[in-house]
Amino acid sequence: MVRRLAWLHAGLGFNKNRKKIVDTRKQHPMPKSPFPLSALFIATISFCCLYRPGIALAQDDAAAYGVQDFNRRDPYKSVNKAIFSFNLKVDKAVLRPVERQYAKLPHVVRHGVDNFMKNLTEPLNFVNGVLQLSPRVAMTAAGRFFLNTTFGIAGFRDYAGTKGFEYEDEGFSKTLARYGVGEGDYVVLPVIGPSTVRGTVGMIADYIIDPVGWVATTPENVAIGTATAVNDRYQNNDAIDEFYYQSIAPYTMTRAAYLQHQAFNKN
């Protein structure tokens, strides 16, 4: 948009210069005047610019409300869109039906599973707290893990939360952000969904450094992964349904919401 505005300004500036050229030509007539062609060129460029949607954006108060051009963050759009379509099919065929069945379980069970899954991420939160050189984050994660694993009946109850130690999701992506690493471009990962370059790197690093992953056997890791997928789909059900099935432009809406949320959360 800025570039287009610059073009427009350049066009207007050229217009002024053109007057000078015309004046000069009056004194020194040329056999063939470039004026009609220049005028036509400028008029065409100006007309096109003025009626381009991007230019019109600058005319309202879009900036005051923080409107952004998310296309700039999405250089792999065609690939991302293809993966998004695939994810939509996977969600429709597998995740959504499973989530609907899961939602029929009693609230206490679903809440317990959510607590249990969160408790399993506390060792990873602790590691990232250490890497962030944040004693508060590390100690909160360690304290929560101890309290919830013991008094919280293996993590099914968020005992620490009732004592004021709220859960904090501290992935490696957040650790990278802490050290000033930018989010990078927007990417859509198969099955997993929207992410960024930093988010993808962070997710791989989390997989490697997660202490639970070291201790658990392969079948246990598969079970944890499956339970996490179902629980996450349930926890984010309203947002996913809204973005995937109720939006009139699912891909664009998901991207806009995700990038805004990431910028806010810095993870």
Binding site: P53, G54, I55, A56, L57, D60, D61, A62, A64, Y65, G66, V67, Q68, F70, H107, N115, D158, G161, T162, K163, G164, E166, Y167, Q235, N236, D238, A239, D241, E242, Y245, Q246, S247, I248, A249, Y251, T252, M253, R255, A256, A257, Q260, H261, A263, F264, N265
Partner: protein, 203 residues
């Protein structure tokens, strides 16, 4: 993201619309921000009403408090200017129903009951008669809190909600992106048709 459920709740921050009438000063808008929280909590925690009754009340008050016409125009951005009058009217009528239906239909009584308080963090009047409000929705221990910011527009005769930002996700920015893409692909007529299609599917 607990965005969606919270967004619903945040949208309902507009519930005290009647108090907004003739609220033409920043202080009146500030008063609106402080009083609406208790009113919303009252509706959410009202055990005498059924979920359907609450949804209906929310939808009605939402339309009064939120400037859906302005949001609709903003969402369409440059495509609004080139749309014929007939399309504009049809678009705004459908948009109002679409926005209300999509968000209010997500009202979950259980989720609302988890909310214990809405704490106002700051109310800052800024340029163009915009008032930026920061708040946090507080839930029962273990359920997590969510930051909700919203923008009020102060006009000579009223004060209306222009944007709601739940956990950093702006309703306005997201709609602008979504509707811009849809209008670019299929025009305003196409946007209207898609909204109607979603509304029909939601019923």
């Amino acid at each position: 993201m607990k965005t969606s459920k919270t967004l619903l709740f945040a949208l309902a921050l507009a519930l005290s619309a009647p108090t907004l009438a003739n609220a033409a000063t920043p202080s009146a808008c500030e008063a609106f921000s402080t009083t609406m929280t208790s009113r919303i909590l009252g509706i959410f925690h009202n055990k005498a009403e059924t979920q359907d009754q609450k949804q209906e009340a929310l939808a009605q008050l939402f339309q009064e408090a939120v400037d859906t016409n302005w949001i609709g125009k903003f969402a369409l951005g440059p495509y609004w200017r080139t749309a014929p009058q007939t399309e504009r009217k049809a678009y705004l009528d459908t948009f109002r129903d679409y926005l209300t239906n999509i968000y209010i239909s997500k009202f979950h009584a259980k989720t609302a009951m988890d909310i214990t308080n809405i704490k106002l963090l700051s109310i800052v009047p800024r340029q163009d008669n915009l008032i930026f409000v920061k708040s946090v929705i507080m839930r029962k221990p273990g359920f997590g809190n969510t930051q909700v910011n919203y923008i009020l527009k102060q006009t000579p005769h009223s004060c209306q909600v222009h944007d709601i930002r739940v956990a950093g996700v702006s309703l306005l920015v997201t709609l602008r992106s979504e509707f811009g893409a849809a209008a670019s692909a299929s025009g305003v007529k196409g946007v209207i048709a898609q909204m109607k299609s979603r509304l029909a599917a939601n019923e």
